[in-house]
């Protein structure tokens, strides 16, 4: 029988072999032809710890650090090791209750597992850190880890410097190849954003081997592949911190903007947008508290008006109008226009401040007196220039000039999201009036900086630079040089080191404009505004706008003969240019040129700083917000009390004292609420709802309902009395 089946031993051997061949094939498949397993193993086991370099520092022109790095601490917990922690004293220190403690622990375990250290409380304040540090021995499993955050010793330049924040998913998506990871910090705005690559330095990476529970087992390959961190490089800017501080102070309690540029280099000396915020409010632990509020603020403190605000330039545009006409050869400095107080050649009447004949007998006089008629006429001459046959072409030429002067185009400053404001395209007018159905008359007020023309304060300051420089400018910028400048940096900064020649008109032409603008400060609109020891040129502006009171504008440069600073100031809804914007511009120039403010003028600085020119609508908004906040607090307190009430009712329904007290309290609160909000409509809808709630309570609890009724009667009596 066994002999009969002997052939089967072969079959068995073949089966063995076949199965082994199958296994070998699968092994070849796994080990030789699939590369994904090697990758998966690395992802599993290699933990890349990022060593964060110090971010670069931003210095002002006198090498003062506008921002610095300090160390902030995070309280980090490893849940599995946290047994035996003195929960109560920890909660007391952190000012949370044990319920919150448990909630956070649960969240950490759920999100990040119990074996890995995760942030329990981030960015501790100094005092909290000190307290925790003393008591750390009570909290096993808890640790304090450091992290570098920004501080701003001068509390200034928030919108210029920008801020850094943790990257979010959309940021990561946009910067895929830059190697950011969740939890990294990156510059989100201002210079921090523009120079992110310079400031951030190079992160170092240490590789560790970790086990299946993410515990570190030791260095990977003895640190062979580790790289060390390279600190971020510093930026040297043209900003003068003291001028910046002064400008911010002057614009306090106002809405507006000021930009000061050194015309010789294009370096921005100061850039302010008001309302402002303290940059320290957006660092470390303060950020959480303040960011939401600032984003929702109707006055938009995070909005940099200096490069994004669009304002009609008004009369401050006139010097530019003159330069264009001079360059086109339409007028000479001697050109005069007879104005009797208005310009009515176009049917519509453009009023002029001056009535005496001869106040616009020459360009110089016209500028000094800011004659509307003169510049309306000059503008019409530019548009109706016979050289260009029709007004559309004339307008295009004029627009080309404007763009060359940086109006209606972005200047490419080194801040993100600059606005190009507006010098309208012909299409805009074609749409508004029909093709070829508009002419120099239709758009007349462009000539005096109104109509659809808008400019950002920086564009106005840049315009002043061109006029001060007699025809050229450097693109306005903050950063003059970068520490250890590299090829990429030089390429980037090249555009700020190149001279842009706008026009090549003779000196005499510009001298007329300069003289006119100087006369403004001698006997013109700005005659009241002085800068001690400095002759300067200026032009005030009072721009009509659709949002209420006129904007107060002021552009200037100084000293007259060798300008080193050009300033543009705008105070929204503040009336005449000479009243508010003028003095602010003068103080900025004085501070920069004299390095100090004359002592007898300091009281004036205080006066301007304290003057509150914020429009009523915005103030109302603040009041409303505050009321809402208060009301919310009260409602919350009420809800908490009601909850407590319900609980106590459940626990001891017999004990009525408690339940009686609380409805009374809520009634009182509501009364209080109504007192606080006498005329606030936003809150009202909330109240009836609330009353409904209490009426429900009445049904369920008759005793307290009776008491409420009593209380109401009492209230009624009181009100009668």
């Amino acid at each position: 029988m066994s002999v009969f089946n002997q052939s089967r031993s072969r079959v068995v051997q073949i089966i063995f072999t076949l199965i082994f061949v199958v296994i070998l094939i699968q092994l070849i498949n796994l080990q030789i032809f699939s590369s994904k397993y090697k990758l998966a193993a690395e992802n599993n086991a290699i933990y890349r710890k990022i060593i964060y370099p110090d971010r670069g520092i931003i210095f002002d022109r006198k090498k003062k650090a506008m921002l610095e790095n300090t160390i902030s601490y995070d309280l980090v917990v490893t849940p599995v090791e946290s047994k035996g922690t003195d929960t109560l004293s920890l909660c007391a220190l952190l000012n949370i209750d044990t319920v919150e403690y448990k909630r956070r622990m649960r969240e950490i375990v759920f999100k990040y597992t119990a074996v890995k250290p995760s942030v329990f409380e981030g960015l501790l304040t100094q005092e909290l850190y000190a307290k925790l540090y003393e008591n750390m021995y009570k909290f096993p499993g808890f640790n304090l880890t450091d992290r570098s955050v920004r501080t701003y010793p001068f509390n200034t330049g928030a919108q210029v410097l920008g801020y850094i924040a943790e990257v979010d998913t959309s940021f990561l998506r946009r910067h895929k190849e830059d190697g950011y990871e969740m939890g990294d910090y990156a510059g989100m705005n201002g210079l921090e954003r523009t120079y992110e690559k310079v400031l951030m330095g190079e992160r170092g990476i240490k590789r560790f081997v970790r086990d299946n529970k993410s515990r570190i087992q030791g260095a990977y390959e003895n640190g062979m592949f580790d790289t060390s961190a390279v600190a971020g490089r510093n930026l040297y800017t043209s900003v003068d911190v003291e001028v910046q501080q002064l400008a911010e102070k002057l614009l306090a309690n106002k809405i507006g903007s000021a930009v000061a540029i050194n015309p010789k280099t294009g370096g921005i000396i100061a850039m302010v947008s008001s309302p402002n915020y303290n940059p320290n409010d957006l660092t470390g632990s303060a950020r959480r508290k303040n960011l939401g509020r600032m984003l929702l603020d109707t006055a938009r403190p995070m909005f940099n008006r200096a490069i994004k605000g669009q304002y009609p330039p008004g009369s401050t545009f006139k010097p530019l109008g003159a330069v264009i006409a001079l360059d086109e050869g339409l007028i000479t400095p001697n050109y005069g226009y007879t104005c009797y107080g208005s310009y009515s050649n176009c049917g519509v009447v453009v009023k002029c401040e001056h009535k005496n004949a001869g106040h616009a007998a020459s360009l110089r006089l016209a500028l000094a007196n800011s004659c509307n008629s003169y510049f309306s006429q000059v503008f019409r001459m530019a548009i109706d220039n016979p050289e260009y046959h029709n007004s559309t072409l004339g307008y295009l030429k004029w627009k080309e000039y404007m763009n060359k002067f940086g109006m209606g185009t972005t200047l490419d400053v080194d801040l993100p999201s600059e606005n190009k404001a507006s010098v309208p395209d012909t299409a805009v007018y074609n749409k508004a009036y029909g093709k070829n159905r508009w002419n120099s008359c239709t758009i007349l007020t462009l000539g005096i900086g109104q109509d659809k023309m808008t400019a950002t304060p920086m564009q106005l300051a840049n315009m002043m630079c061109i006029i001060a420089n007699k025809g050229f400018y450097y693109t306005p910028h903050f950063v003059d040089s970068i520490e250890h400048e590299q090829k990429d940096d030089t390429l980037f900064l090249a555009k700020y080191r190149r001279k842009h020649s706008v026009i090549h008109t003779s000196d005499t032409v510009f001298r007329a404009v300069h003289d006119g603008m100087h006369d403004v400060t001698v006997y013109g609109t700005a005659s009241e505004i002085k800068v001690p020891g400095v002759e300067y040129c200026a032009k005030t502006g009072t721009a009509q706008n659709p949002h209420g009171k006129n904007h107060s504008l002021f552009v200037c440069f100084a000293p007259k003969d060798n300008p080193t600073i050009a300033v543009a100031v705008i105070v929204e809804n503040a009336g005449f240019g000479a009243t508010w914007a003028g003095p602010i511009g003068a103080f900025i120039m004085e501070k920069y040129l004299n390095d100090t403010i004359a002592s007898d003028r300091l009281s004036e600085v205080e006066r301007i700083s304290k003057a509150d020119l914020i429009p009523v609508a915005i103030k109302d908004w603040y009041v409303k917000k505050e009321n809402q906040r208060q009301a919310k607090l009260i409602l919350e307190a009420e809800a908490a009390k009601a909850e407590m009430n319900a609980e106590s009712k459940q626990s001891n329904s017999e004990e009525e004292e408690n339940s009686e007290k609380i409805p009374l309290g809520t009634e009182k609160d509501k009364e209080q609420l109504e007192l606080i909000l006498p005329d606030n409509k936003n809150i009202k809808p909330l109240l009836p709802q609330n009353k409904k709630d209490s009426s429900k309570k009445k049904n369920t609890n008759t005793t307290s309902a009776l008491l409420i009724d009593d209380h109401k009667k009492w209230l009624a009596k009181k009100s009668k009395a």
């Binding site: 089946n5 031993s9 072999t17 296994i23 070998l24 092994l27 090697k38 998966a40 030791g218």
Partner: protein
């Protein structure tokens, strides 16, 4: 491994002893790889006897001792006690239902004291092999008869059934390997063919879309009908057979397999089987799971193929040459669960790559072939059947264990012979192999 006593060593097959020793040493090294941590004084730990690799070495020493005893014993002892030990083993297994100790959810262990536990189902493999050999070597047995075939199958399936009742599915499946031994002794080949076809059909059901599979089966049946049309004309029975086979196949793939997965298997078992073919099993379809939820027990968790995935990553990351001894990150990071026992092959695959794996498997294959050769040179049926049983058990263990780690087979707790950590397992295979060597040494005798 054995004393160099000329009396004892006479006729002993030294090739197998050498292979056995090599495998045990590889096993201890593998366990060492799994346990090793950088910065620890491994020698001290080794001598301290607290780590798994030193324990395994102690087991190996004990096994050497037992192996020596076996070689010293008389071959007739095994034939004489074959039936008795089988009954003893079965009783022991039944006893575990009463005095068993619960380890990892299966109540199949008996505590021996001193931290040692015994798994009767493991030992029962030896007893069953002996009992099967004893039965098959009965002088007047005609294995072509259905009756004797059924008895043989019964001997094998009784401990399998008991193992299954102890929730040791893996061990229960091992007993199926005896079919190979029985096949060698004359069990109709059809049973193997049908078994394999059934397995293929189940796998196809899991991997291929049901409709596609049904159509494929129908097409195969149609082609078969066309090819065999002449024979069918002569013999209408053939037509019936083909149609019946087709109907059964479609029935299995359409209804039987889903039914079994949803109603017979536990949720985790279905998941494991599905994950072996790289698919997710939705536990919500499972009856056990539903009743569990209804009873308010914990809700179903997401199907997880963590084990297979990590095991495949470990082996796959080894590449052609491997990452080197003690250099595997999967092993160092303890990513593979149960790596010192059931998934020990992964440490080898990661450290030594394809070359190491292939060499290692060839050692196994060589061992199996050697055993088959030994079996064929036996004079007595008892020795031959026993040898085939040993080869089959080893083969089954190796195949299932390795296939499980490389994702070709669902995960069931089956040890890699002589390599996996564990005293019971090592002892069982030592005894199995050395009884074979003892019997082989007396191959000139006719044992009954």
């Amino acid at each position: 491994m054995s004393t160099r006593n000329s009396f004892v060593s006479k006729g002993v097959d030294w090739t197998i002893v050498t292979l056995y020793a090599i495998l045990v040493v590889i096993g201890i090294l593998c366990i060492f790889m799994v346990e090793y941590r950088t910065g620890t004084n491994w020698l001290q730990l080794f001598l301290g006897g607290k780590t798994n690799y030193s324990k395994q070495l102690i087991f190996a020493g004990a096994c050497a001792l037992i192996a020596t005893f076996i070689l010293l014993a008389d071959s007739k002892l095994f034939t004489a006690f074959a039936n008795l030990t089988y009954v003893f083993g079965i009783l022991l297994m039944i006893a575990t239902f009463v005095i068993g100790k619960d380890i990892k959810g299966s109540k199949s262990w008996i505590a021996l004291g001193g931290g040692f536990n015994l798994q009767p189902a493991e030992l029962c493999k030896i007893f069953t092999a002996l009992a099967l050999a004893k039965y098959m070597s009965m002088q007047n047995l005609d294995f072509t008869k259905k009756r004797s075939q059924l008895i043989a199958v019964g001997i094998v399936l009784l401990p399998a059934l008991l193992s299954r009742l102890q929730h040791e599915t893996g061990l229960a499946l091992v007993y199926l390997s005896f079919f190979i031994a029985m096949y060698r002794e004359g069990l109709p080949a059809e049973i193997l063919v049908i078994g394999i076809s059934f397995g293929a059909l189940v796998v196809a059901t899991l991997t291929v879309d049901p409709n596609t599979l049904a159509i494929t089966l129908t097409i195969i049946a149609a082609i078969l009908l066309y090819v065999l049309r002449r024979q069918i004309k002569r013999n209408s029975k053939l037509l019936m057979i083909i149609i019946a086979t087709w109907a059964i196949c479609v029935g299995i793939q359409r209804f039987a397999v889903p039914y079994i997965f949803n109603n017979v298997f536990e949720c985790y078992q279905s998941q494991r089987i599905y994950s072996a073919v790289g698919k997710d099993y939705d536990c919500n379809q499972n009856k056990h799971n539903k009743s569990e939820i209804a009873a308010g027990a914990k809700a179903s968790f997401k199907p997880d193929d963590y084990n297979v995935r990590q095991s495949k990553i470990a082996i796959g990351s080894g590449g052609f040459k491997g990452r080197g001894f003690l250099k595997g990150t999967q092993t160092r990071g303890k990513y593979v669960p149960a790596q010192h026992t059931d998934f020990i092959f992964t440490s080898l695959g990661e450290a030594f790559g394809f070359l190491g794996c292939a060499t290692f498997l060839l050692i196994y294959l060589f061992l199996l072939f050697r055993i088959v050769n030994i079996a064929e040179r036996q004079r007595s049926t008892f020795s031959r059947v026993y040898a085939y049983s040993v080869a089959s058990i080893l083969f089954f263990h190796i195949t299932v264990n390795v296939c499980m780690t490389i994702g070709l087979f669902p995960i069931i707790g089956i040890a890699l012979p002589l390599i996996s950590y564990g005293g019971s397992s090592l002892l069982t295979f030592t005894v199995l192999i050395f009884i074979l060597l003892r019997l082989d040494a007396d191959r000139q005798m006719v044992l009954r």
